[in-house]
């Protein structure tokens, strides 16, 4: 459980993923792995609707499909290798001595699940190569975050070393872990911190905020605590803009799927409107 794993694909986010992964690996003094997964299920399927079964139909179809896969995979393999090489050069240039480069076949999620035990931090883009619009959250992102139990950094935009970090706090167990992370992780050493929660000034929240503030201050960090009013996402978003926060730390998918089906997921909405990297905790 010591590696920083960066998921590289052909999307526009690849550069940001490299840069933030390099930044995190350097800060955590952790080995960096650049991973590219060749996911065959993402290839379009060709079809012949003639519905005819010719002589040795099975054998012919098998060799046809295998031929198609060979061509696609050869190409994808080369393309992936190029992407990885570019990524490797990029992280080496930003000071990572020997990043490990890996290419795997199979489902992205399966591959990451296999590596989970070794993973300290996972860095991914906001959306995969199949999306080009900037408001859409990649369908892989939500599934990854739900399935894996490691911190995931959603990298986006132009890289700039984070100076101001904001923790969205709501007293939940996961954001309490976030407080400890903020206090103790080398990732945030020397960064200015903001502890923000949204709520109608409940007593309990205030008490938890005081605990959080104390924990972080005792670890020697500068922290500013605020309780905001209003809708969660807009309030956090406005605060982030107003205080030049350049990295957001938050718990992910804390609510039940049922509630999220009706109300919508806070996490998805936060990521959708994100302009700076988000570190999601599970």
């Amino acid at each position: 459980m010591n590696k920083v794993i960066a998921c590289i694909d052909g999307s526009s986010a690849a550069d940001a993923v490299c840069d933030y992964a390099a930044w995190a690996a350097a800060r955590l003094s952790a080995p960096l792995t650049l991973l590219h997964v060749l996911d065959q299920s993402r290839y379009p399927v060709e079809n012949d609707l003639s519905g005819k079964l010719g002589v040795d139909a099975r054998e012919h179809l098998l060799s046809e499909l295998a031929e198609l896969d060979i061509r696609r995979n050869k190409l994808a393999l080369e393309q992936g290798a190029l992407m990885l090489e570019e990524a490797r050069q990029r992280v080496v240039a930003s000071g990572i001595a020997a990043p490990v480069v890996r290419q795997r076949h199979g489902h992205l999620l399966d591959s990451l699940a296999e590596l989970e035990d070794d993973t300290r931090l996972l860095v991914i883009g906001k959306q995969g190569e199949e999306h080009s619009d900037s408001v859409h959250v990649g369908d892989n992102v939500e599934r990854l975050v739900r399935a894996l139990h490691r911190p995931i950094l959603i990298a986006l935009g132009e890289f700039k070393p984070p100076q101001v970090v904001m923790l969205a706090f709501n007293s939940s167990e996961i954001t309490r872990k976030g407080v400890e992370l903020l206090a103790n992780s080398p990732l945030f050493k020397g960064l200015r911190g903001h502890l923000v929660s949204v709520g109608k000034d409940a007593e309990a929240l205030k008490k938890d905020m005081a605990w959080a503030e104390k924990t972080i201050r005792e670890a020697g960090h500068d922290i500013q605590c605020t309780v905001l009013d209003g809708e969660i996402e807009p309030a956090l978003h406005d605060y982030q803009q107003a205080h030049n926060v350049d990295m957001v730390v938050m718990g992910a998918y804390g609510h039940s799927r049922l509630r999220e089906f009706f109300v919508g997921s806070t996490t998805n909405n936060m990521i959708k409107n994100a302009t700076v990297p988000h570190l999601l905790l599970r």
Binding site: V45, G54, D110
Partner: protein, 495 residues
């Protein structure tokens, strides 16, 4: 691995391809379901309800996304006698029981038994199936007017030639539409699907088979159900492997067993006959671009919609069109390559394949054919492994000592050869049997070792056994007598 695959992957990752492929499959399922009902001796609606029900349930419960299950010829052939002697109600009860047996097979993970079914047996199975499907068409071609032959030939022509012009419309459908139109236009007096029995005009309804619930009933349906369960699972596992290979993905074979069971139970209660996975249709599905569970669901639902709403038209389809489609299925199912391979493959493989085919074609029972194939494969294998065995004799350091080095597998086929490798007439004071590169597998082998040692001892020779590996020595410790006291008495007492 499967845990991380979401609903999206197994249902909605290929919507366009799956809907199109499911539609093509539904159109191809209709003639097959009707033809298999006729084989079984029941109304076409029994096969059509079964196909709908099995496809829909297995879309959810099956273990191989993208595979098509419905009423099949392999199963239909097994129910002929039951239907003839006891009627439809018993068939439905047998169908439910088949499902129950298959669910137990899934629970006990019997899907893994498929590893005993060799490739030659699988080839024999598909070839026998193709031959039986073809033979089932012959009654429609015997004692009929020349119109039927012309129509069938024309239908085959359309099926094989139309795709050269257009690959966006299923050619079997074109064949059916054109032949129906011709037969209606010319007012030909030939047999149609409507002559073969009732077609569905409503959605299927839940019925409990009307049979006496007693031991007598069980005695009637149980043997049929066991055979159907076995054949259904065999064809389903084979088809699942074929789809695995075609799509280069994995399937859950034990879930598939249980899924087949659930499908058959539902079919039995909805007035359908037992079914299983279909090799031909699954190949058509993959070829048409179907990959996920959605394709199977679309095939089942669309099939029912078509038959219920078009039942008047379906009943006018000439049997010649159906025969043409089924001949195509039979040609597509048969492994023509295997004919070429007969001369290329080892004789034992060819014998297994041909024996499977012959047994099946004569008994109409694929379970028997596969049984014969599996037993033959096992015998050939035992014979081959038994032949990889030899013993060398080393004179040792002096003339009074012989070292026998045994290499290979010692079990029932090679035990005699093992015992005969020793020279008992030679008068030496010491014999060493070096078993470092040998493995003793069974009681016959241990028995042979005992006999060799005791025989040598009776000649006054000291016998030493060295290098016995751990597994073999466990057997020796448990069952051999030569290393126990009063060995000779026991040994001789046994004779």
């Amino acid at each position: 691995m499967a845990m991380t695959h979401s609903l999206g992957d197994t249902w909605f990752s290929n919507i366009r391809g799956d809907v199109l492929a499911g539609t093509v499959v539904a159109l191809a399922l209709i003639p097959e379901a009707i033809a298999f009902s006729i084989i079984a001796g029941v109304d076409p609606k029994v096969g059509l309800y079964a196909s709908f029900c099995i496809a829909v349930v297995s879309a959810f419960a099956g273990g191989r996304p993208g595979m098509i299950s419905a009423a099949t010829g392999a199963m239909a052939l097994l129910m002929v006698t039951l239907v003839k002697e006891h009627g439809l109600q018993y068939l439905m009860a047998a169908t439910v029981l088949t499902g129950v047996i298959q669910i137990f097979a899934g629970l006990f993970k019997l899907g893994s038994l498929m590893r005993f079914v060799s490739r030659s047996v699988v080839t024999g199975f598909v070839n026998a199936l193709a031959i039986l499907i073809f033979m089932a068409q012959l009654p429609e071609l015997i004692d009929v007017t020349w119109h039927v032959y012309a129509m069938t030939a024309g239908g085959l022509g359309i099926i094989y030639l139309f795709p050269l012009v257009n690959k966006t419309l299923p050619s079997p459908l074109i064949c059916i539409v054109v032949l129906t139109a011709i037969s209606l236009y010319l007012g030909l007096d030939i047999r149609t699907v409507g002559d073969m029995g009732e077609l569905p005009d409503t959605l299927p309804i839940f019925l409990i088979p009307d049979i006496p619930l007693n031991m007598e009933t069980l005695a009637i349906i149980f043997p049929v159900s066991v055979t159907m369960a076995a054949v259904g699972l065999l064809e389903s596992m084979m088809t699942a492997t074929i789809v695995d290979d075609l799509t280069d993905t994995d399937s859950n074979k034990n879930r598939e067993c249980a899924g087949q069971g659930l499908s058959n139970i539902s079919a039995g209660f909805l007035g359908g006959m037992a079914g299983c996975a279909m090799i031909g249709q699954s190949v058509i599905n993959v070829k048409s671009g179907g990959r996920t569970r959605l394709s199977t669901l679309v095939a089942g639902v669309f099939l029912l919609i078509l038959v219920v709403f078009l039942d008047k038209w379906v009943s006018m389809i000439p049997m010649a069109a159906l025969v043409a489609v089924m001949i195509m299925v039979s040609i597509g199912t048969f492994s023509w390559e295997s004919l070429v391979n007969l001369s290329k493959h080892p004789t034992s493989s060819s014998v297994v394949m041909v024996a499977t085919v012959i047994t099946t074609v004569f008994t109409h029972n694929l379970a028997l054919g596969v049984g014969v194939g599996v037993v033959l494969s096992a015998l050939f294998y035992a014979n081959k492994v038994g032949r990889i065995f030899y013993v060398t004799v080393d004179d040792g350091d002096d003339n009074n000592h012989r070292i026998y080095k045994v290499v290979g597998q010692v079990f029932y086929t090679s035990a005699t050869q093992f015992a005969e490798s020793f020279d008992y007439k030679e008068a030496v004071s010491k014999v060493t049997i070096d078993l470092d590169r040998a493995h003793f597998w069974d009681l016959t082998a241990i028995d042979a070792l005992d006999k060799v040692i005791i025989k040598l001892r009776r000649e006054g020779t000291d016998v030493e056994v060295i290098g016995l590996n751990e597994a073999s020595s466990t057997l020796v410790d448990k069952f051999a007598v030569h290393d126990k006291s009063d060995a000779v008495d026991k040994m001789m007492g046994g004779h």
